[in-house]
């Protein structure tokens, strides 16, 4: 048994191990990225599902931004006020109450109210259907296709297809914005949770075409705009839009609307 060979082998492996140990140890210190411990604390408080609703790259992105002072402490829509308060404690500032938002689907044309041009059999995905000439089987080219790309996008199971259109469950919705991005017709908007009046239509067609396609669509008659005491409702391109900064929830627009397309519920 050649002792020299054994010793050389042991030295080579041992030497490699020791060298690599030193190498990594030294460079571990040299390349140490200073992590503010507040960032770790904030990361621990955040919900951790990396939904991107805050507008930053995941929870770690938001934590870094808050510590740098680029983001306010109440930026996380999922965590809401309780998490904002905790982050405020960590950063040593008080958290102002943010407005809770929810997603709202601006289409009311369900199976009973909306017309279909033809019967559709094919890929059951709204994003894929957007490529079909004419934008899908629905007579109203602006309406909800009802195949649930938004449902698939929602990480909180807050959107469901009920009677052919998407409906958001206000209690489950965390306003992360994924459904807004997923809808190929751009039908979903984030509105304040306590907004009492919402226009549930996106159709920019003229009144006659709207009525042919759907029994409840907005016809652009401007009665809401003329009667709003705050000037919060504007009708552009044959569709009404409410500015929630001005809206007081008086409900006049909803009363005057001949199509009853502006909801009254809170």
């Amino acid at each position: 048994m050649n002792i020299t060979a054994i010793i050389i082998a042991a030295l080579v492996v041992g030497g490699t191990g020791i060298f690599l140990g030193f190498f990594l140890g030294i460079f571990g210190e040299k390349f140490k990225v200073e992590v503010d411990e507040r960032e770790e604390a904030i990361l621990g408080v955040l919900p951790g599902n990396n939904c991107g609703g805050c507008g930053y790259a995941g929870c770690s992105g938001l934590a870094a931004a808050i510590v740098k002072g680029e983001a306010p402490v109440n930026q996380c829509p999922v965590g809401g006020d309780p998490v904002a308060a905790q982050i405020g404690d960590i950063m040593g500032v008080s958290a102002e109450g943010g407005v809770k938002m929810v997603a709202f689907v601006k289409c009311a044309g369900d199976c009973e109210k909306a017309e279909q041009d033809y019967e559709y059999t094919g890929v059951e995905d709204c994003a894929a259907m957007a490529f079909i000439p004419g934008g899908g089987p629905r007579s109203c080219s602006y309406g909800c296709l009802g195949y649930g790309s938004c449902v698939k996008a929602c990480p909180f199971d807050a959107v469901h297809i009920i009677n052919g259109i998407a409906v958001v469950d206000k209690d489950a919705c965390k306003a992360c914005g994924k459904c807004v991005a997923a809808c190929p017709k751009n039908l979903i908007e984030l509105v304040p949770c306590d907004a009492k009046n919402k226009v549930q239509c996106s159709s920019r067609d003229k009144g006659k075409d709207v009525m042919a396609a759907c029994s409840v669509g907005c016809i652009g008659c401007k009665l809401c705009e003329k009667n709003c005491p705050e000037g919060a409702v504007t009708v552009t391109d044959n569709i009404a839009h409410i500015d929630y900064e001005k809206c007081t929830g008086c409900g006049t627009c909803a009363e005057k609307c001949p199509k009853k397309i502006i909801s009254r519920a809170g």
Binding site: G17, G48, N49, C59
Partner: protein, 229 residues
């Protein structure tokens, strides 16, 4: 059931690495062009697995936590080198046909995975039987696939099965078949263990779990919970 026999049963049937857990796919696809190759690879992996489980279980209280992974890697790599040279000497034909896949046993997820999840936490005797069970399960898996490919390819003359595309095809149908079995077992109320592996989010069996920065958020939470247990 005697706890040693239970470990064997677990490795061969309940958590069979090839059919149930779907670990170690690289050698499964590469060496199963004939049944003999499959048996050869399976048995050499079994030997390495048993020895590495034995050694790691022996030293489990001595190895410091921070250098756990490099220590396991050195142990496994040394064992593989030994096995490689024994095979070169005593079974040169097999060694030549398995080629570079023998040293690649080092990075076989089964070995480092069992070391991390079982051998480092359990005494010597159960660890040996765990290694034996898993290794035999792997061998059986490889042999079955090797047999199918050899019969269809060499005997029946459908050459595609001996070549690269055939490996993917056979494995695809195997996975589909296992899905049928899975559904049946779930209906009976005896669900099979879920497949593990990179990016399925199952970090428990992954050897690199401790240093991995690539965990998906759910996986990170799950493995944190498991660490706490």
């Amino acid at each position: 059931m005697n706890k040693y026999v239970e470990r064997l049963y677990n490795g061969i049937i309940k958590e069979n690495p090839t059919f149930v857990l779907m670990l170690g796919m690289c050698p499964t696809l590469a060496v199963t062009s004939s049944a003999v190759n499959g048996i050869g690879m399976g048995l050499s992996t079994t030997v390495v697995l048993v020895m590495s489980n034995l050694l790691i279980s022996m030293f489990r209280k001595v190895i410091p936590n921070g250098v756990r992974m490099p220590a396991y890697i050195v142990v496994v790599a040394s064992l593989v080198t030994i096995v490689q040279f024994i095979m070169q000497a005593y079974t040169p034909a097999l060694s030549a046909s398995l080629g570079v896949y023998i040293p690649l046993i080092v990075v076989n997820c089964i070995i480092l995975g069992r070391a991390e999840s079982y051998a480092s936490k359990n005494p010597i005797a159960p660890s040996i039987f765990d290694g034996l069970g898993m290794g035999l399960g792997f061998t059986i898996g490889l042999t079955c696939i090797g047999l199918i490919r050899q019969i269809l390819g060499a005997s029946l003359g459908i050459t595609v099965f001996i070549m690269a595309p055939g490996a993917f095809l056979v494995l695809a149908f195997l996975v589909a078949g296992m899905n049928v079995v899975r559904d049946k077992m779930e209906k009976k109320g005896k669900p099979l263990a879920a497949p593990s592996g990179c990016m399925t989010g199952d970090c428990a069996s992954c050897s690199q779990s401790a240093m991995c920065t690539g965990k998906l958020p759910d996986a990170a939470k799950k493995s944190a919970e498991q660490e706490a247990k």
